[in-house]
Subunit: 388 residues, 2 copies
Amino acid sequence: MLGNFTYCNQTAVHFGPDSMEALKSELDKYGKKVMLTYGGGSIKKNGIYDKVVKILKECGKEIFEDGGVMPNPTVEKLAEGCKIAKDNDVDLILAVGGGSTCDYAKAVSVSAYCEEDPWEKYFIRFEEPECKIIPVGCVLTMVGTGSEMNGGSVITNHAQKLKIGHVFGYKVFPKFSILNPEFTFTVPRYQMVSGIFDIMSHILEQYFSGDDVNTSDYISEGLLLSLIDSAEVAVKDPTNYEARSNIMWTATWALNTLIAKGKTTDWEVHMLGQAVAAHTDATHGMTLAAVSIPYYRHIMPYGLPKFKRYAINVWKVDPKGKTDEQVASEGLDKMKAWMEKIGLEMKISNFGVTKDMIEKIADSTLIMEGGYKVLTKSEIEEILKACL
Amino acid sequence: MLGNFTYCNQTAVHFGPDSMEALKSELDKYGKKVMLTYGGGSIKKNGIYDKVVKILKECGKEIFEDGGVMPNPTVEKLAEGCKIAKDNDVDLILAVGGGSTCDYAKAVSVSAYCEEDPWEKYFIRFEEPECKIIPVGCVLTMVGTGSEMNGGSVITNHAQKLKIGHVFGYKVFPKFSILNPEFTFTVPRYQMVSGIFDIMSHILEQYFSGDDVNTSDYISEGLLLSLIDSAEVAVKDPTNYEARSNIMWTATWALNTLIAKGKTTDWEVHMLGQAVAAHTDATHGMTLAAVSIPYYRHIMPYGLPKFKRYAINVWKVDPKGKTDEQVASEGLDKMKAWMEKIGLEMKISNFGVTKDMIEKIADSTLIMEGGYKVLTKSEIEEILKACL
């Protein structure tokens, strides 16, 4: 059943090998001052930085550099970006990079003119911006977060050992995003498979919730099947355009609000993974991978019909002569085998988590209420121990 | 493989039993003069007209009535609507009805200030508007066309025996659409199943094209499975909200540009169906139903891998021990049986088409080039004869 909702996603996505050609016409819509936001400098090595700067100059833009966005962007970096944006009164933030860079750009866009502490306002109290919002555009170089077509922004506060995401409303969505699958060819394998699991997790967080079956679930299954098939190709052949383009487009639709419409969602895997990341700084998608199977085995009895459906429709488990539990469990077995095959991290001990850290990680794990089981503190500890 | 494309769909959709509550805030964005466009008056019987007028008055709007939009809107009606819109300098066209009403509203929106003959400009020469475009909003009461979230507009010219659709660009998309599945409860069964097949045909026209498999095809399969399951429920129980809501949302995504992105598409079934409708004025979805099976049997050998995939993934045909042709053909058999079961028209003779009309219908059938076989005139006649 699809209940009440509003769907409104106004991000213009330019996709494909020639998509950078659309940047000029998009830039023409904004003023002269552009803040150029990017990560650790890989875009300087692979030539994307030069391409973007050339187009910015051709459009007569004044560039304000804001490099060094880290994989888990911090509150300190956010403050730095806000200063650049506000001091220079920039007209557009152009984020060139992966999800962290896009997330960070959106955080700056709503924080630069915010009169309160943005961490407290947006990431602790989850309020919406009332101040001026600086428009954001993205040139995506890594795939996974879906940040290119949504209002999501995840920021890490190391002092508080918290990594928290705020899903902002429509006004904070990027105005445009350039998605060239070829830009992802050079992403290292570890980051690529991490991104692939991030996509899978986004879909599953929305799929594993609710008692009925609706159009959103059917679309989710289509996206999962597309992702699974293309991931296997991309792992073997990283420059396979067909696979990379399918993964890139699946990532966008996995988290641009569509598949959550009219239904409840879970997001507990992200809460567990983000808590692990806040204590280890491990790669986002890998933390999700390492907690997923123990978490799903734990909640499976509470959402058995959906886990059975998942096993049959996504992992092609033959249900003949098996109990529902057996079918559902076999689905998770197949998922685990596939995860191992593409090279995902399957244990949080790989990130340096030890048994004595479990209690603190559990303390910083937010408890969600939309999944098949609202976890208790001791259940979280039990799941985390099973992830070691 | 997903090639170059731009995805940009800025229609805000308000969905669900309470979606009419959003009308007020949407109306507030436009000026005082609203052209209220609707069909044959069923909205006056079921109370929707009164609800809309009440909200329009509460918002202080001046209403310009434009009722009587027919199922296949004509060039003559278009001229009438343009006169009302232009003479009164309306700020918004609010279409309350099904796809025909929405299609017609979009045609008026680009034609009222058009200095040339809009039929010639838009429907013969397929040009984009250069004139002022009047914003359009929709309150949907019937499901099928997807017109609520796209730039499509189909107009019929009886004098020329032509029914032609123009898919306009993003600027012509409705600004907002109100989708309340409960409004569709009272749609007569014939119109309901006709709409259901219109949705299926939209998906298949985009699915049956191209040699590779990409994310769009996987999403299409998800939408088809959702539609097939929900249609069977809705036919038995027309006021089943779950089924009606899934059908309504599937219809929107079947034709809001998403599943055509990065791939080629066919649309020959629509060309055949529209030619039949232009000569008989039969219901749109029923004309598509009556031509589909003979058309797909004819082109199956040219797109065998896709037809095989369709049979397995959508119609759950077991491929074991069968040739590809047998699997593909069995898929079409299952599709035909399902169509008969839900009560679709399976012969164009049911609309009054006789053998001696075939040549003229073939003459007004446009030949598309994106499908698995570019038809010749004699192939069109052969297919139409098989539909008798």
